[in-house]
């Protein structure tokens, strides 16, 4: 199981490989904000403070959206496009409430 710590909500949730961040947010009752949920609107942009390598790779659309927004791309992800790809480890996420 991977531990996902949602810093802004102070929630630590253990999830199996393949879990999407949309599921994490819903199950945890987190205040993470989603818009279109398909990677177009950038509402769900968040900082992955650690554990970026435990998440699936960015797809072309996500890279394009993040590049247009600017900022530190090595830390940013669109939460609606993320899922956990590893069995073990800890991911820390802040979405800036």
């Amino acid at each position: 199981m991977v531990s996902v710590y949602l810093q802004d909500d102070n929630i630590k949730i253990k999830v199996p490989v393949g879990t999407t961040m949309k599921e994490v947010a819903r199950k945890a009752g987190a205040a993470m904000e989603f818009g279109c949920r398909v990677g177009d609107c950038s509402t769900c942009i968040a900082h992955v403070k650690s554990g970026m390598t435990l998440l699936n790779d960015k797809n072309e659309k996500e890279i394009k959206v993040l590049e247009m927004i600017g900022g530190n791309l090595s830390e940013l992800r669109l939460m609606c496009q993320c899922s956990v790809k590893c069995e073990e480890g800890e991911i820390v996420i802040s979405y800036g409430l």
């Binding site: 909500d9 102070n10 945890a28 009752g29 177009d40 927004i69 409430l97």
Partner: protein
């Protein structure tokens, strides 16, 4: 009749449009004497910059004013401080008439642009610190997101000390005399606009004010209502005051406020509310209170919600739904920040019992933190169930005070 073109100074003019007949704006706002869609034209020694456009049906007045001041081929830049349709309605046509002009928008506006203009147009993204030059005029951009659209930015014209603030400092107030020292008394409209448009984004207002403080501002040119040139600091101070005030004195002592809102038909949801409040209030640092939704009017609901760090809502289930005052309470969140509030729901029920889950779901969409599952009890709570209510209240209170929530999928 267009009337005279209002000048903010020799090289900056109002080219917006007046809408004296509008009575309801954005569905939620009343506009007793209309409004205006302000846009501005800045002339420099090396070209012209158009600051925002107008609502589409007012394009004619906008283009007429613009044409009195410049030729389309002189337009070097078009700046959209945010892309809301009341300011971007004439953008597509303006870009067709001035194809050489470069569109400047914020990063967050990029995706929205495709929804406004269906064809690809050239644009440049502006973040805080980006500067464009019109020769003897310099415009600096400031990222001021969520005021009140995510893509909002502001800009500052250095040589004339004019802040183009977007919707910030706006008023829905129609008066063609335009300047704050010449129009009628628009104080109510200025405050009403803040309360309905900016109040949900107080933290972002304070961030924006910090950016504005870097500049010497002699005129604020907002996108609606009077242009503020007599004492801009007065209006800035008002925004600072409204965005900072903590109404609840107990916050000053480090306490957090937990409010239990309930409605009860046979006293059972009321009994639950009492125990939840009792359990919450026993937690160090929490001040818990309870309110009968049957006796709260909307303005009290808004104030109480704003002051509450945790919002717990109880409703019986009647005909498969939560009661109307509970939904009314949640509609008040449209005027407020919800981001960091903890939420929870409960209720006694006779047959089906959907109300707590329905309210929970609605609160999720309103971005409450909802770490505790809804609590429901069939009709009259037993002593054990009332003990569960105590624990339920205590758990919500502890999470509100910062207890780490641990769970597993």
């Amino acid at each position: 009749m267009l009337g005279a073109i209002a000048a903010l100074c020799d090289d900056v003019h109002f080219i917006g449009a007046f809408d004296p007949k509008i009575r309801t704006f954005d569905i939620i706002m009343k506009t007793a004497n209309g409004s205006s869609y302000n846009s501005y034209l800045v002339r420099g020694s090396e070209g012209v910059c158009v600051m925002d456009t107008v609502k589409k049906e007012f394009s004619e007045a906008f283009f007429q004013r613009l044409e009195l001041l410049c030729d389309y081929d002189e337009i070097k830049y078009i700046v959209l401080h945010h892309l809301e349709p009341d300011h971007s309605g004439a953008l597509e046509e303006l870009m067709e008439r001035a194809p050489q002009a470069k569109l400047i928008i914020s990063g967050r506006a990029v995706m929205m642009l495709k929804g406004i203009i269906k064809t690809d147009v050239p644009f440049e993204v502006a973040n805080t610190g980006k500067i464009i030059s019109l020769g003897d005029k310099t415009i600096e951009f400031l990222s001021t997101p969520f005021l009140h659209w995510p893509d909002t930015m502001s800009s500052y014209l250095h040589e004339e000390k004019i802040l183009f603030s977007g919707d910030v400092f706006g008023s829905h107030y129609y008066d063609e005399r335009l300047f704050d020292d010449e129009v009628g008394d628009f104080a109510y409209a200025f405050k009403y606009y803040y309360e309905h448009i900016m109040r949900p984004f107080k933290q972002y207002v304070l961030q924006a004010l910090k950016l504005y403080a870097r500049f010497d501002i002699t005129t604020i040119a907002p996108l609606h209502g009077p242009i503020l040139r007599t004492n801009p600091q007065f209006y800035i101070n008002k925004y600072a005051q409204w965005s900072s005030e903590e109404k609840f004195r107990k916050h000053e002592f480090g306490n957090k406020m937990l409010s239990v809102f309930y409605m009860s038909s046979y006293d059972n949801t009321h009994l639950m509310a009492e125990k939840i409040m009792e359990g919450a209030d026993a937690v160090e640092g929490i001040v818990a209170s309870m309110y009968d939704l049957a006796s709260l009017d909307e303005s009290n609901m808004i104030d109480l919600l704003e002051e509450s760090d945790a919002v717990v809502i109880g409703s019986p289930t009647i005909n498969g739904d939560a009661v109307k005052p509970a939904w009314d309470l949640l509609t008040c969140m449209a005027y407020l920040e919800s981001g960091s509030k903890v939420g929870a729901t409960f209720g006694s029920y006779g047959w089906t019992g959907e109300a707590p889950e329905m309210l929970h779901d609605r609160m999720r969409w309103l971005k409450f933190r909802l770490p505790v599952k809804p609590m429901k009890i069939k009709l009259i709570p037993t002593d054990d169930e009332l003990d569960d209510c105590l624990s339920f209240g205590a758990e919500i209170a502890e999470i509100t005070m910062g207890k780490l929530v641990e769970m597993e999928i």
